[in-house]
């Protein structure tokens, strides 16, 4: 907690509240250009949601930011460090959960800490804390196959949070769970974020989810894709179920929808022309 409260001393000029800076990023697989010239910042306590049609490279972009994939153009900075491989302080939550089936909930949550070389005493202290934070207390000894998809992703979230990252990367984390569970997990995430605010990049294909969670929503589209528009989401905090009923929420959702669909519709009309 205290870690996030210190002022960002020594951070680069003018953007001193940015935790992640993405500069003119480009990526291609062979001759297929995935995205080009992607630039944005993420503040220390900011949630940036990225939406885009499937196949637009959202997930690839996130993997580049985590340092899992090399980039072809531009650069990514995490505080003063250039990202070329996964860095401590950045943790990712995966769409496929990525839990190890041979490890219990406890050991899965402890995995990140173990890899970071945390002493056993610290693991013993932190793991129960985070298991409880995500609502999995009592399931420490369960194996992933014994718990539901929603609980598995809670476990994935606890594993990421346990290393106390200052940047959380969320790769469509709730796409693989059912609609009700998804809603529950969205508000759980908001609750946890209010307790432990971090920089967060949340990739999703759900417009509603992006508007509910994001302080800003970045719309990616085109081929190769790029940032089409960035929409500031001026909704009050903390965001709760009540947020969903606000007229402003509906407006913003329509706005993002309109932005995302404009090109698709344009293409459709073009097809219908003789």
């Amino acid at each position: 907690m205290t870690k996030h409260e210190r002022p960002a001393g020594g951070a680069p000029v003018s953007k001193d509240s940015a935790r992640i800076r993405v500069n003119g990023l480009g990526k291609h697989y062979g001759t297929l250009e995935v995205f080009r010239n992607v630039s944005f910042d993420v503040g220390e306590r900011e949630i940036v949601a990225i939406v885009g049609p499937s196949g637009c490279g959202k997930t690839t972009l996130l993997r580049c930011i985590d340092g899992l994939l090399p980039v072809d153009e531009g650069e990514i900075w995490f505080d003063q460090q250039r990202v070329t491989s996964p860095l401590p302080g950045v943790a990712m939550v995966f769409q496929h959960f990525g839990l190890f089936p041979w490890k219990t909930v406890y050991d899965n949550v402890a995995y990140g800490l173990r890899m970071a070389g945390a002493p056993q005493a610290e693991i013993d202290k932190r793991v129960p804390e985070f298991v409880k934070l995500v609502g999995l207390a009592g399931f420490e000894k369960a194996y992933p196959y014994q718990i539901s998809g929603g609980m598995q992703q809670r476990c994935g979230l606890a594993r990421a949070l346990a290393v106390e990252p200052s940047v959380l990367l969320m790769d469509e984390p709730f796409a693989a769970v059912d609609a009700q569970t998804r809603e529950i997990l969205q508000f759980e995430l908001l609750r946890i974020w209010e307790q432990r605010p971090t920089a967060m990049i949340f990739v999703t294909h759900s417009i509603e989810e992006a508007v509910l969670l994001g302080h800003r929503v970045i719309v990616l589209k085109g081929r190769p894709s790029g940032i089409y528009e960035t929409i500031k989401i001026e909704l009050p905090h903390p965001r709760t179920r009540a947020t969903l009923r606000e007229p402003r929420f509906a407006e913003l959702r329509e706005r993002v929808w309109g932005t995302l669909m404009a090109e698709a519709q344009k293409a459709e009309f073009e097809l219908e022309k003789p």
Partner: protein
Amino acid sequence: MTEANAAIGIPATSASAAKPKRAGSALISRLIAGGCILLAWEVIVRMFAPAYVAKPSNIVMVIPKVMTDPLFWNSTAQTLGAVAQGLILALIFGTIIGLLLGRSVTMERMLRHYVNGFYAVPMIVILPLVTLWFGYTGAARLATIVFAAVFSIIINVSDGARAVPREYLEVAASFRSSKLRMYIEIVLPAATPYFLAGLRLAAGRALIGAVVAEFFAAIGGLGHFILYNSRTFHHAEAFVGVLLLAGFGVGFEVLVNWSTKRFLPWYRRDDRGT
């Protein structure tokens, strides 16, 4: 019908209630099959074969005699001891080589065909070689056992290491796992089911290797016991040895299955890959 269906869905309570019944009926059908085979054997030998050909009743009669023969126990201990030693060596080398083969393209290119080639070679052909190197000693038998067993472990472990889901490796990379820990904590456990399949094959082949070496290099042991008794027309005694070998095969299978359930509770064929 409905009860049986319910038992599939809910593992904990109903399955344990249904299990003894299923196991019991399996045992009964097994005993009936065994009884029929023995009966047919007895009848055919009594009707058509000379007196010195072993029949089940003779074998039962000589069991007490064989059981009190120190040579029999000595031979059994020798063979089993050699098989155990050989299997352990094969496991260690097979696992290491298998992991390297499965995860390193260079190693795979260099060694794949040799491994497959040696796997296909009948183990008996190396006997002249190992007796030349080690003499007619226990070491020659040990070498034959290792040769017989190691390739099935290498092949299975390398297949398992290659089949490690990419998601697991991605999570490991994201949490900054070192290469070595990735092998030990991710690749090895993920390959365990393959490893066990290899172990089952290897155990059978190791036993064959031991007996073959004992037959042809006259090194004592159970193989020699069987050969000696057959050649001196003690066919019933020889068959006690044969039955014991068959018993080892079954016993090892039971042991592997039991330890899979006991130590790999997460591994269930029906829902792998999540």
